[in-house]
């Protein structure tokens, strides 16, 4: 299936919003998507990656290096001439049951056995550099792979010390996880690493569901025509992201809003500093997407459930969902 145009996705506004924010500010630290199967989680993430403008990479570099950062690539020999080419934003689908070798990269067996050379064969992390790393059913992923991912996601660098190899290469990507909480809980440490989380539900509205069937059918019959029909809309999204990216450094966050953020985190009992940081970055990105120069409470309120709902400490006695708890706190604090 070719990629589906991002703007042609029916509904799922919260998910789309979160993905846009991650596209504007990659430092937000990934998006966790909770929801049933077949609700368009991977379609949306894939669509966004395909919509983004191509990036410049060094031709032949297996680490997706940007021309100006070629020094960091293990493939680069100083003094070597490089040629920059356009490439689509990478989107890597990490399958359940991936081995450490495939994720991190490993000794290139072919070269080793054939030529007797020690050579590094990059893994999925190198492929995802500067793009998206999508993990379906992340709650079922092996713990040791999750640990590796967390480490790399936090440091932005993949350090391989195995098989007699010693290699480091940059690996910065937007981590997108998806899973169904009914099939196993995620470890809190892992959840906390995600900047935003969204809950997707299947569209309840019959008209929406009919619209989805129509659009999927059109896409299936004439993918190119369908993409062309939505190219304008996708172009608008693209422009919005580009504008927001440019405006982001200039968006101001008033002192009073920062205080609001701190008191909100305290009120809901979100552990750690990461909640506040994400609130700040998320609200800023949101303001930038809205074309505003200053963060307001409106942005804060909108971002709060996405930034905090996965960070609340489990309370066995309180059966209320996290989203409700955050909304209650917002209501109490800011009316």
């Amino acid at each position: 299936m070719g990629s589906f145009p991002f703007s042609a996705i029916v509904g799922q506004d919260e998910m789309k919003q979160a993905l846009l924010i991650a596209a504007v500010d990659a430092r937000i630290g990934g998006v966790m998507i909770f929801g049933d199967r077949g609700t368009g989680k991977s379609t949306a993430a894939r669509a966004l990656a395909a919509t983004l403008p191509p990036i410049m990479v060094v031709e032949g570099c297996r680490f997706n290096s940007a021309p100006e950062q070629i020094d960091a690539s293990p493939d680069y020999v100083p003094g070597q001439k490089i040629k920059a080419v356009k490439a689509p934003v990478p989107f890597v689908d990490l399958p359940l049951g991936s081995t450490e070798d495939r994720v991190l990269g490993t000794l290139d067996l072919e070269r080793a056995l054939g030529a007797g050379e020690k050579h590094f064969e990059p893994g999925l992390l190198a492929k995802a550099h500067r793009g998206f790393l999508y993990i379906d059913e992340i709650n079922l992923l092996e713990d040791h792979v999750v640990d590796l991912l967390l480490d790399v996601a936090a440091s932005g660098e993949n350090l391989v010390e195995r098989d007699g190899l010693s290699i480091r290469h940059p690996a910065r990507f937007v981590l997108i996880g998806s899973g169904n909480p009914e099939e196993g809980e995620l470890r809190p440490q892992l959840l906390d690493r995600f900047g935003l989380s969204v809950e997707v539900r299947t569209p309840e509205d019959i008209a929406d569901r009919v619209e989805i069937m129509k659009r999927c059918d059109e896409n299936e019959r004439d993918g190119r025509g369908f993409a062309a029909a939505w190219a304008d809309e996708d172009g608008k999204v693209l422009k919005r992201i580009a504008k927001a990216k440019a405006a982001l450094p200039k968006v101001e966050t008033p002192e009073s809003i920062l205080e609001d953020m701190a008191s909100l985190c305290k009120a809901v009992g979100a552990d750690g500093l990461r909640g506040e940081l994400t609130l700040m970055r998320g609200s800023r990105a949101l303001a930038a997407l809205d074309g505003k120069k200053q963060v307001t409470r409106k942005h804060l309120k909108k971002i709060a459930p996405l930034a905090l709902r996965h960070r609340l400490r489990r309370n066995i006695l309180d059966e209320t969902g996290s989203t409700t708890r955050i909304e209650r706190a917002l209501e109490e604090l800011f009316g």
Binding site: D36, R37, G97, A112, L140, G164, R187, P188, T202
Partner: protein, 555 residues
Amino acid sequence: MSEAAVIDDAALAFHLLVRNPALFGGIVLRGQGPVRDEMVAFATAAIGKNGPVVKIPPNVDAERRLGGLDLAATLAAGQGVVRAGLLDSAAGGVIILPMAERVAANVAAHIAQAIDRGDLAAILLDDGHEPDEVPPAVLTERVAFCCDISLLRESCVRDWPKAKKLAKVDRLDNSRLQSIAVTAAALGIASVRALNFAHAAARAHAALHGRKVAGDDDLEAAVRLVLAPRATQIPQMEAPPPEPADSPPQDNEADEGNDSRKIEDIDLDDILLEAAAAAIPRHILDQIEGRALRGGKGQVGRVGQKQKSALRGRPMGARRGVPGHGRKLALIDSLRAAAPWQNIRRRATRADDRRKIHIRKSDLRIRHYEQRRESLTIFAVDASGSSALSRLAEAKGAVEMMLAQAYVKRSQVALIAFRQAGAEILLPPTRSLTRARRALAALPGGGGTPLAAGLLAARQLAEAALKRGQTPTVAVLTDGKGNVALDGSANRDAAAVEAIGAAQGFAAQGLASIVIDISPRPRAEAAELADALGGRYLPLPQAQSAAMVAAIENL
């Protein structure tokens, strides 16, 4: 459904798939037999004309599945020889997956990715017997059809003389699309994929019968073939379907014009729903009923089976070491370790040394298996009589406390309540707090004490867990005084005899257990029960959650 109808439907689904494998992603053929063999042979021949047909053995390793270096050939040739993976070699064609109900989660995930990319379609051969023995949900979600052919004796392979090309069939009109959406909602189907499959099936069905426009018959077939096997609830026939006229206006007004649906359309919804309800396969019905019995909400889907395959001790790579004493050599990893040094070592050896590979002891690697025997704690709680509510509340507290640590320890918890006439699984084995909350929210209490029934239910769960490779522990919370016999009658003596009998059967299985006596004054009966169970006895008059958890963990 009559057998003829089942055969017709299986034939339909099968032929729709064979004609458009990429569009439908695949099919589940449940049940063994000559009919299935014939279908597989037919599909192999028909699809094989246009693309590869590859059989994926259930035990296939990652290297072979995904491709990689062919080690034997590489060593012989002295240069890298890459072999395409089975999944790659099936691109543009079909894979056949035998014993699909036992396929490991990681294999299923790779296949699911390939289906998502539109690379291939999968014919899943499902040999499951129990209702919950089904292929992983990641796969069943991505294939359009699921046919139970276990009862078929007659051939499914047909000729379709009038068949047209699918591309010639128009899209369904608005009101028919709406009927699909309404029917799916009534069957409790959340996935949007199912809707698209149903739409495609309606069109493909029309094409098969030589129609240019899909009509109500085509729609009905699509609902039977695609939606019915995905049902998670049995539709309420007497209730009118949700009023579609209320739905907001479509943004796409150029199409078909009218939004307000006519009476006939709503009748059509009813017809479709009835057709779907009649076509829900037996094992799905069993699943739905099983879930209803446990008090689930029905939207859970086929939860849990997937974890099965992940539990077995799985190879966790290799580490340095010398084989022997039950430790197995990891050949590939050993060669991998030796590979970089080959040139150097060759240079260092005498000229008459003809060895192709030079391996030193330090290169040897041994397999390292992860021992992950997941534990399952089954609480069997006496929910009878007046103090039931507080006991249940304590048991609930203990379940939640254990679950709160479950993601650290990877242990599962289940809860059985026995009261009045029988035992009920309130919480099937789970690690999910979300599910546990929901199942525990409404706790029934009161009535007699069917102790034997409770023990039997616990034993069934425990044995199922053993089969999955888990280690079950059973905690019985009771005062030991059964007063309801297995047949549901209030017969104190029979109940006591049966309870001890059930307990002894339990002990014979070697299952670990503990009896927690929750009566205000500890009694002899509970101690006797513990004795018969071969388990520990713990009088705990206040049934405090924390003490209970501590006792179970110390077992």
